[in-house]
């Protein structure tokens, strides 16, 4: 394979990994906040894609940056959905067996899937482009501006989330609730409020991923399962409970998938990815990065 082709493949892998990272990041935020997996994360990505399609007419076609302008709108809307999600699918069942939370999120995901089917139809739809313009050509290398925009947006959102959780008072409160909600409540932090905020942030990130992926890869009501699976693998590889691990795991998956598929075939790439997951679960169940004791958010 030529260097040009290899560079092209790596660029694609990075763009794909960046979008997966946003999904995995939201996945870990909820996991750390409430100690449960949100199995609707994939459907929420899909919902973000459809939200972008529904909101696109508000921006119109005259502007040169339709998708980028939509990003805050989609994230805001999905943040509200996230807050609602916490109150519908988490709080009512949180004191029951943990399985109830899993099942509740699965059910919520299926509701979203069927809702999308009813509202938008079964056909795949193309989301708005993040940025207008033809592919950039450097020598024989053709770089899609869309891919560059996906990577830039994902990097900004990942850094922003890290700064928000690490440097702001609200972020610290969210982390405190995630580590010990009773202790946090004792010092005047509202656990319910912080958990609601965690869901809102996680689902806003899922929505952003949906928008970033919707133009290049389209969106259809049945896409959720695929995204959920990739987030799950990313978190397993990167280390459960670690935000940086989720991002690293997602990037590794994106590059691994595209590179192995390009060198061999999709079937081999898929088989190797799941084999890698098995190896990780057997030999390093805590993931690639060192495990942090009770490290949440």
């Amino acid at each position: 394979m030529s260097t040009i082709a290899l560079t092209q493949i790596l660029l694609n892998g990075l763009a794909l990994g960046a979008a997966y990272a946003l999904i995995a990041l939201g996945f870990v935020i909820v996991l750390n906040a409430v100690g449960a997996v949100n199995f609707a994360q994939g459907e929420l990505v899909m919902a973000g894609g459809f939200a972008a399609i529904a909101l696109a007419p508000l921006i119109g076609e005259a502007t040169a940056l339709p998708g980028l302008l939509l990003l805050p709108l989609v994230m805001g809307l999905m943040g509200l959905v996230g807050a609602g999600f916490a109150w519908i699918a988490y709080f009512p069942v949180r004191k029951r067996h943990q399985v109830a939370v899993f099942v509740s999120t699965i059910a919520a995901g299926l509701v979203l899937q069927h809702l999308a089917n009813a509202l938008f139809g079964a056909a795949p739809r193309a989301g708005p482009p993040l940025i207008a313009g033809a592919p950039m050509t450097i020598g024989s290398l053709s770089i899609s501006l869309q891919q560059l925009a996906v990577m830039a947006c994902a990097a900004a959102l990942i850094s922003g989330t890290g700064l928000f959780l690490g440097r702001t008072q609200t972020g610290r409160h969210m982390r405190a609730v995630a580590q010990d909600s009773e202790m946090a409540a004792a010092i005047g932090i509202h656990p319910k409020r912080m958990i609601t905020l965690s869901f809102a942030l996680a689902i806003a990130l899922a929505g952003a991923a949906g928008l970033l992926l919707s133009n290049q890869f389209f969106v259809s009501p049945n896409d959720g399962g695929l995204f959920m699976l990739k987030a799950y693998i990313a978190v397993t590889i990167g280390g459960w409970g670690r935000l940086d691990g989720a991002v690293i795991g997602a990037m590794l998956i994106g590059i691994f998938e595209t590179l192995v598929a390009a060198l061999t075939s999709y079937l081999v790439a898929e088989a190797l990815l799941y084999a890698l997951l098995l190896v990780m679960l057997v030999f390093r169940p805590s993931g690639l990065l060192p495990e942090r004791a009770r490290a949440r958010v």
């Binding site: 394979m1 030529s2 082709a5 092209q8 493949i9 694609n12 794909l16 069927h114 089917n117 139809g121 079964a122 056909a123 795949p124 739809r125 193309a126 592919p135 050509t137 053709s142 899609s144 869309q146 992926l213 290049q216 890869f217 389209f218 259809s220 009501p221 049945n222 695929l226 998938e257 595209t258 590179l259 598929a261 390009a262 060198l263 075939s265 999709y266 079937l267 790439a269 898929e270």
Partner: protein
């Protein structure tokens, strides 16, 4: 006296309600899942025909979503058979049809489908009637057009990993080889794959002169879009999914330049005549554009109703009529080849890069020699 009169009146009312009871024609198709787009077209075609032609016979469609699992299809069929229908419209998904056929065979109910999977008419169950040309017809048209019109000598093939994909790939591989233009590259793609660049990159290293596609709708659009985004300007001759208006809607008309596709028909490409009437009615009823799957299933359901109008009442009589008569449908004339393959014509449509409506470039009639 009063009781006697009431009993007589009640009996008469019951008799009237029984005779007036409409017969339900089950429509068991995938409306959710990866084949939902095609399945919805199939449903719409069947529903339109039954509503349009079945009134006099008091026929009513009853739609059940089979999803995409064989279990879903089998459950839907078992439930539908409880109503003892004289025929059923059955899933276009090959794996579902293969699961449904033995059950329909044991129950003795004809299944009308538009599934392209070759095997469904090859396993020897004489209760299946396929109104969409099978791979042995459309893949011949696709291969011939590739060589005779597009001058392909080094074709590459991307196909789906599903039963549909494998069936079509097998035919294309053999036919292209027989016609002297063997494939120089082949890749199987799962329906969940979104990033087509790895396959396109490896394909380019084989230096093909044409890309043949045999993929479902979403994958077809993804390949074309990503190929054009990366300046791969090779001509593309796709499978029937590409002719669907919903597939074309995913792409910019410029990206469709140099793209052709095989199909049984293309209703939106015919500006006048009975097909245009069908298209107008379809648009008004469903608010969307029809495709070849909807037209084929419309013709299939209409032929079943023609059987009923000709006096066939039981499932066995309907089966016998379908197996031994020909029917002039809107897309083509249908006649069984003895195995339930009813459609024997194909068309090639091409896009001009300016519009999302393709033009019919060539018709291949009676490819399988059954008329």
């Amino acid at each position: 006296m009063f009781l006697k009169t009431a009993a007589v009146a009640l009996t008469a009312l019951m008799a009237i309600s029984l005779t007036a009871k409409a017969e339900t024609i089950p429509v068991l198709v995938p409306i959710t899942g990866f084949l939902s787009l095609e399945g919805t077209s199939q449903r719409n075609g069947a529903v339109l025909a039954i509503e349009r032609y079945g009134k006099d016979l008091d026929l009513e469609p009853e739609v059940t979503d089979t999803g995409t699992s064989p279990e879903g299809a089998v459950t839907a069929l078992r439930r539908a058979l409880e109503g003892e229908p004289s025929a059923a419209v059955a899933s276009m998904l090959g794996t579902q049809m293969l699961a449904m056929l033995p059950i329909a065979g044991r129950a003795g109910v004809p299944l009308l489908t538009v599934s392209g999977t070759a095997k469904i008419t090859e396993i020897g169950i004489p209760w299946v009637f396929r109104f969409f040309p099978g791979d042995s017809v459309v893949k011949v048209a696709q291969a011939r057009y590739a060589i005779e019109e597009l001058g392909a000598k080094r074709p590459a093939l991307l196909h789906q990993t599903t039963a549909y994909g494998q069936s079509g790939a097998e035919h294309l591989r053999r036919i292209m080889n027989d016609l002297g233009a063997p494939l120089v590259f082949e890749e199987a793609i799962d329906v969940s794959v979104k990033d087509m660049l790895p396959a396109l990159t490896r394909m380019q290293e084989a230096k093909p002169d044409l890309i043949l596609l045999h993929l479902h709708s979403g994958s077809t659009a993804l390949v074309i879009r990503q190929a054009r985004d990366h300046n791969i300007a090779l001509p593309i001759l796709a499978g029937s999914a590409m002719h669907q208006p919903t597939t074309a809607a995913l792409l910019d008309p410029k990206q469709l330049a140099g793209v052709c596709a095989e199909s049984a028909s293309s209703p939106i490409s015919e500006p006048e005549g009975p097909v245009e009437d069908f298209t107008s009615e379809y648009r008004a009823r469903f608010g969307t554009e029809p495709d070849a799957f909807s037209l084929a299933q419309y013709d299939g359901a209409a032929m079943m109703i023609a059987a009923r109008n000709s006096g066939a009442r039981t499932a066995e009589e309907v089966r016998d009529w379908l197996a031994s008569n020909s029917y002039d449908g809107l897309a083509m004339t249908y006649k069984s080849d003895g195995e339930g393959n009813m459609a024997h014509d194909a068309v090639i449509v091409c896009y001009d890069g300016k519009s999302a409506v393709p033009a019919i470039k060539r018709r291949y009639e009676n490819v399988s020699g059954v008329k």
